[in-house]
């Protein structure tokens, strides 16, 4: 009889049982942990895409690349071909394609030259057009890529993206999916909705010149021409010239025709009244409101909303800058943005 046996035998059974229950209740919570340790099901390092870079031209280029690599295996002769993309897909290859009104197209389209669709067409898969793509009015399409220009007529809804090496011309009342990007000019009509835009530059619709309305908040008993500081507000008078960065804990307003050679940052809202020039960047925790005929040469970044009035210029020719409003962006006519526009909420062209 081993000492261990003698020891356990000397303990009364009820106590032994209580001890075993105690031991079980202590050890039981460890069982799933030990199981995961011994037979791991989730032990890999978190995945990091090592080659990830922010690329606004990613979707259409990646799509074209994957599609053409797949087509190389089956050939480019016109007709229906089965290819393996993320899953098995049918690709309709043609030199040119015209889709009549009210059609529903369920295949991926690879068009070497020109693609045209009529009105109220449903294009449920991606389209690639080598030379150009003209999307008719009130179409619903998943995505379109091209090496040439893309025209999107009024009332069309894009589910995912639009991308081209050429230029994009978007009519009014369109929905532009997650990203509308091009290597050339991007023109957007009135009443369009977007998440992200990229163009060199991005131009909103042309609107007639009208009297610019001041966007600066009105303050009672405050001389408009004065420097004003209150608990919540910091206001810079019209025509002021500042050659520095400005960092403000308050709401920040720059009145008409101010010039700032530096960046602005506010923990509240930033309001640029009409005709303000900022040769730098804007950063705000609150809203950014940019009045008509203002110019910002740098980036505009808000954790809230961005509202840009008409005749505003963001960036400069030859540069890429960004307008990023986390909750939403509103653009109006005659606005030129050199580069990238992004919102996590909804972007609208009013």
């Amino acid at each position: 009889m081993t000492p261990l046996f003698i020891f356990f035998n000397s303990i009364p059974y009820p106590i032994l049982l209580a001890f075993l229950i105690f031991l079980l209740l202590i050890l039981l919570p460890f069982v799933p942990a030990i199981r995961e340790l011994v037979r791991p099901k989730d032990s890999l390092a978190l995945f990091i895409k090592m080659d990830y870079t922010k690329n606004p031209r990613y979707f259409d280029r990646a799509f074209k690349d994957i599609l053409e690599k797949s087509l190389e295996k089956v050939g480019y002769e016109p007709g229906l071909k089965k290819v393996q993309l993320s899953k098995n897909e049918l690709v309709d290859i043609s030199d040119s394609k015209v889709v009549p009104d009210n059609e529903i197209v369920g295949n991926i389209l690879y068009v070497r030259k020109k693609f045209t669709s009529g009105k109220r067409v449903y294009l449920n898969k991606e389209i690639f057009a080598g030379e150009s793509a003209i999307i008719g009015e009130k179409n619903v399409l998943r995505a379109v890529a091209s090496d040439g220009n893309i025209t999107i007529s009024a009332g069309t809804r894009v589910i995912r993206w639009v991308g081209t090496e050429g230029s994009v011309f978007v009519g009014s009342d369109c929905v532009l999916g997650k990203l509308c990007s091009c290597s050339g000019l991007l023109e957007i009509g009135k009443a369009c909705v977007f998440n992200a835009l990229y163009g060199k530059p991005i131009n909103t619709y042309k609107m007639p010149d009208k009297e610019v309305v001041s966007v600066a908040p009105k303050m009672k008993n405050v001389d408009d021409a004065a420097w004003y500081v209150s608990e919540n507000h910091f206001s810079i008078p019209p025509g002021a010239v500042i050659n520095n960065d400005i960092i403000s804990k308050r709401n920040l307003t720059l009145k008409k025709d101010c010039t700032v050679a530096g960046s602005l940052k506010s923990y509240g809202n930033i309001v640029l009244d009409e005709g303000v020039t900022v040769k730098g960047n804007l950063f705000a925790e609150g809203d950014i409101i940019i009045g008509g005929k203002s110019t910002v040469t740098g980036n505009i970044f808000s954790q809230s909303y961005i509202r840009i009035a008409g005749n505003v210029r963001v960036g400069e020719t030859g540069t890429i800058k960004s307008v990023i409003g986390k909750k939403g962006i509103e653009l109006t006519g005659n606005t030129v943005i050199f580069g990238y526009v992004l919102t996590e909420g909804t972007g609208r062209v009013l």
Binding site: I15, A18, F19, I26, P29, L46, K178, A191, K326, E344
Partner: protein
């Protein structure tokens, strides 16, 4: 015009959300705070109403089990006012360590403290735990060696400490577990179920532990009271609380894995 849909439910338009700014889809900070308060009120009330019964049952079962090793008439169930109600506990005569037993324990404890840190095949983390437990035991041994007559506890006082601590653990479970569960996108009834399960587990565990503690203290000696309380006391409660909680959250995560539409993004 497309209505803004940030729930990720529009599958055709869905772009996979990177983990960097994902947030849970269910409600905001205020909603979660209200949920925590409601659950705490619920379980706080349950614990407050039922703790006398729980301690009574614990004492009863402990007495039944301990009656096998000691005369039942030496085990008394007594009550004491606590938080405007009563708690129940066991009173009995305990045992002071004899000189020989004390010396043997002291030597073994010292050996453990010297040898264990030097053992290479024991993980350092485990070794540290054993060393600290041994250190507390050594302090206890030294106390009994020099100040045995000043030992302030008997079984009754120990039982008071133990049972009242146990009740506070239950209140803490009623607060910490809802707090820890609150942020997760799970049905509130499941959260109630998990909290209730942990409380029940705590009651049963507390009862088994009470029996073991009393057995050791009455049969072997008060020498082990300090290490039992400090090492196998409230710290061990954290193990099952976190164990059950983590298993539950893991199951929820497994169910939600790969379901991209469940996330919101940034606000």
């Amino acid at each position: 015009m497309v209505k803004e849909d940030r729930s990720g439910n529009d599958e055709k338009g869905l772009i996979f959300y990177h983990r960097a700014y994902r947030i849970f889809p269910s409600g905001g900070v205020r909603r979660h705070t209200i949920e925590i308060l409601l659950l705490f009120l619920l379980f706080g009330l349950i614990v407050y109403l039922l703790f006398p019964l729980a301690t009574r049952l614990t004492s009863y079962f402990s007495k039944q089990v301990l009656s096998y090793v000691m005369p039942p008439n030496t085990l008394q169930i007594i009550q004491k006012p606590f938080l405007f109600r009563h708690v129940y506990m066991i009173d009995r005569i305990g045992k002071f360590p004899g000189a020989f037993f004390l010396l043997i324990t002291l030597i073994i404890t010292l050996l453990i403290m010297i040898v264990v840190p030097r053992l290479k095949n024991i993980p350092k983390s485990f070794g540290t735990w054993i060393s600290l437990a041994a250190a507390i035991n050594m302090i206890s041994c030294l106390f009994f060696l020099f100040f045995s007559n000043r030992f302030p506890y008997d079984i009754r006082i120990f039982s008071e400490l133990y049972v009242e601590t146990q009740v506070i653990i239950w209140f803490l479970i009623a607060f910490i577990v809802p707090m820890a569960l609150a942020p997760f996108p799970v049905n509130i009834f499941l959260k109630i179920g998990v909290t209730g399960f942990i409380l029940a587990y705590s009651v049963i565990f507390g009862c088994a532990r009470y029996i073991i503690f009393l057995y050791i203290l009455t049969k072997h000696s008060y020498l082990f009271m300090a290490p039992l309380f400090f090492i196998f006391g409230p710290l061990v409660d954290s193990v099952y609380i976190i164990g059950i909680y983590s298993l539950f959250i893991s199951l929820v995560a497994t169910k939600m894995k790969g379901v991209m539409t469940k996330w919101r993004w940034s606000y």
